[in-house]
Amino acid sequence: MNQPVNELIDPSLQDAVEHWSDYAKDSLQTAEVVLRLYTPVKDSLQITQQVLESVQENDWTPSATLPDAATFSGIVSELSDIQVAALKRMSDDFNRYLDTSVEAGKLFGETLKTDGDPQQQLAAWLETSLKVTKAYQDDFSQQLSDLGAIESAYKAWWQKSLESLLG
């Protein structure tokens, strides 16, 4: 009756719990770094200053004459390219989620067939869950990265368009 608790727990289950614990620790650390990068006031001031400098440098005063057709055509063409590229990235992201879901289904299916005592079955389930969680997290990171690129592209296009219309 004096058996230590550790000996009652299957090593595979201990490992699985440890892996989840490490993952939680890493995620918390990541979240803390993200919060440190969150500097909305500084970013807003930085962008405001950059825009003001750009306005001064480029003399963004409305022109008396209308821009020529080629300018308009160029602006529309670039916007069209951006929209096509954005659609492709979002479509790729969606397909990646689908692939991950299919793979997750297979993994869980295989895990359900695991032989052994309940502790080992639980360990296998935990390990599979962690693997699937990390896969979804990678997909989510990629999607956020692509959304960032899309947002950045539209802002760059806006600046380019203004410069070509007013410059």
Binding site: R36, L37, Y38, E53, E78, K155
Partner: protein
Amino acid sequence: MKRLPRQFSTRNLVRFLALTFAVSIFPAQADTALTTKLPGFNAELKKTSVSGLSSGAFMTSQLYVVFSDIMVGAGIVAGGPYLCAKSWAGNSLLENATTTCMNPLTPSVGPNTPHLVELTKALAASGDIDPVENLKDDHLYIFSGKSDKTVTTTVVDQTEAYFEALGIPASSIQYNKSVDAGHALITDENDDTDCSETKEPYVNDCDFEQSTVILNQIYGSLNPPTDTLSSEIMAFDQSEFIDADNTSMSDTGYVYAPAVCKTHRSCPVHVVLHGCEQGAAVIDPSNKYYAQTGYNQVAEANDIIMLYPQVQPSDEAPVNPKGCWDFWGYSSPDSVDPDFFTRNAPQLRAIRKMIERLAQPVETMSLTTTTE
């Protein structure tokens, strides 16, 4: 359901994740190597050059343009043009660095080269950087892997366009984008990562030694690399060159000086800048970047001193979780208009001081410590 503020849920999270490529955090490790003071080797200051990968390539552009008075060339592997993070006014520096300067949606919203050229000329005119005329007789090597999705060829194309716009003739630029390589420095070592992959430590086997090609392009007609080294790689105290609080630079840097450069010859210095997650604090004890990328063997055969400054991860101020070189301003965390791009920028200043130390006369004391 309670929603997170939009700023948190998208923009800032995106910045961080795009910057770091993945969501793992590497803890900063203490420098454990025994270090000594960086000696003077009477190096030939006016024949300095620099090369680097990724953030090290962006830093290469910075060091090269800012101190062009002492530079004769540069090697840029998967990196964008100088001042790239200042491309678009509507994006913060970090947003530009992680989108425009890495994997922009289309070429038209990539690095804003005409604007960057104008900014560069203005900085030169104000004396914040050396005159751009210094660049015209230099030689450049630029590389972009066909399978590189981290810093895409769209961005690297603009590096070539930028330097041509500053007056470097196309004939003096060797731009290779024909290799199916991932995001990595290239070697001819079978044990390194397969050519088209992108994974740590970002050193890939593509059947040629990129360090040799870079140095040949810069200095021309070099001897083939040697098999043995006449001297040891020296860990030196990098902290004595750091005079700002938030550089994220390690306490230890590395230098390789062939024996002849320590006593008999005035040798040029080539600065080698690692990429994110490649500093010694991250990939030691393999010494991958400063000992196994072929640079030292070329240095040995051609009497060149190799200087390997080091930067390390930092989770607190400055926030630099992947240990990247600063090309968007993290080394001035409190400034809305951070200086990471002039002769007064904290990291650039520190590296310049290291180069100048190497150019100082040889001292007997330092020789004793380095040849052990």
